[in-house]
């Protein structure tokens, strides 16, 4: 059963075979968890919503169109739940946090546990990239993840977030520029690596 395609598993789930849904959960729980953790920056929130994502997906399985991949469809459900959770948190957040998010202020230096260079020495490239994504202001982080992990178009993101397309583009472009700047040591390291003769 583990070797079955997503489409075949979904068909069997729709006929009532729950074992097939277990396979889909096992196959994609890491991907969904990673997206939610990076969106929300909280293990508890992410763990909460992984379960909700799969439950919601199961209840909507009849509406899954096989022209998109199952993972892309799951990502959309997870993204929506993540966005709802962010909104709920925002409304509860203290005024100072609200100001920080709205102003897009970057975390203070003391919050940045390691510089990219130092982290690059200790950890692998992906740890540095993950760290820098987590350091982005929330409004930039969510857009960059929706675009490049959930694979949503700018228009889709604008619709989900109730924002003008231009605002989403601005957030996305600024996020990528910030990451490019902060990841420069990694990018240079990678370029040197690829430029070396074989």
């Amino acid at each position: 059963m583990d070797s079955m395609t997503d489409a075949a598993l979904v068909r069997r789930c729709l006929r009532g075979d729950l074992n097939c849904y277990d396979v889909l959960v096992r196959r994609y729980q890491r991907q969904v968890y990673s997206l939610l953790y990076r969106m929300l920056g909280s293990v508890d929130d992410a763990e909460d919503l992984v379960q909700d994502t799969f439950i919601r997906a199961y209840n909507a399985l009849h509406s899954f169109r096989q022209d998109a991949s199952f993972l892309t469809w799951l990502y959309k459900i997870a993204s929506n739940l993540g966005i709802d959770r962010m909104r709920a948190r925002k409304s509860k957040a203290a005024a100072s946090l609200e100001e920080e998010i709205e102003s897009g202020r970057e975390p203070a230096d003391s919050e940045r546990q390691t510089s990219p260079e130092a982290a690059a020495v200790r950890n692998c490239v992906s740890d540095v990239v993950h760290h820098e994504i987590m350091m982005l202001p929330e409004r930039y982080r969510r857009v960059v993840l929706l675009r490049h992990v959930s694979d949503m178009t700018i228009e889709e993101i604008a619709a989900e977030l109730n924002l003008p397309t231009g605002t989403v583009k601005t957030h996305l472009f600024r996020a990528r520029e910030m990451l490019r700047e902060r990841l420069r040591p990694v990018l240079e390291m990678e370029s040197h690596g690829t430029e070396q003769p074989a």
Binding site: Y21, V129, V144
Partner: protein, 101 residues
């Protein structure tokens, strides 16, 4: 250093570089019309600095897209199964009208 090489460019070349760098993200997203996209491509072919910026942006995107997945603290299979099983088990032939007295 290469980073400062834009300062050494002629004013015409400088303004072209600035324009191309403003358009790079739209170029990557495919938002430019064919004429503008071709102008960016042509400039990238001859300008090392803009080419480097373009390459770095593409690399940045690739790094985001290829981030490894993280492992959650637990396996969700059982919890999800427990939550959906009551719904899945609800079949029309199992349904009974409420008893009335």
């Amino acid at each position: 250093m290469e980073q400062n090489s834009l300062l050494n460019e002629t004013p015409e070349r400088f303004s072209l570089c600035v324009r191309v760098q403003e358009q790079l993200q739209d170029y990557i997203e495919g938002y430019l019309d064919s004429v503008a996209a071709e102008a960016v491509r042509a400039h990238l072919a001859v300008c090392g600095l803009c080419q480097r910026n373009y390459r770095e942006l593409r690399q940045t995107i690739r790094l985001i897209e290829t981030l490894p997945f993280m492992s959650p603290g637990r396996d969700y299979t059982a919890a999800v199964r427990a939550a959906i099983a009551p719904n899945a088990g609800l079949r029309w032939w199992k349904w009974r009208p409420p008893l009335r007295w």
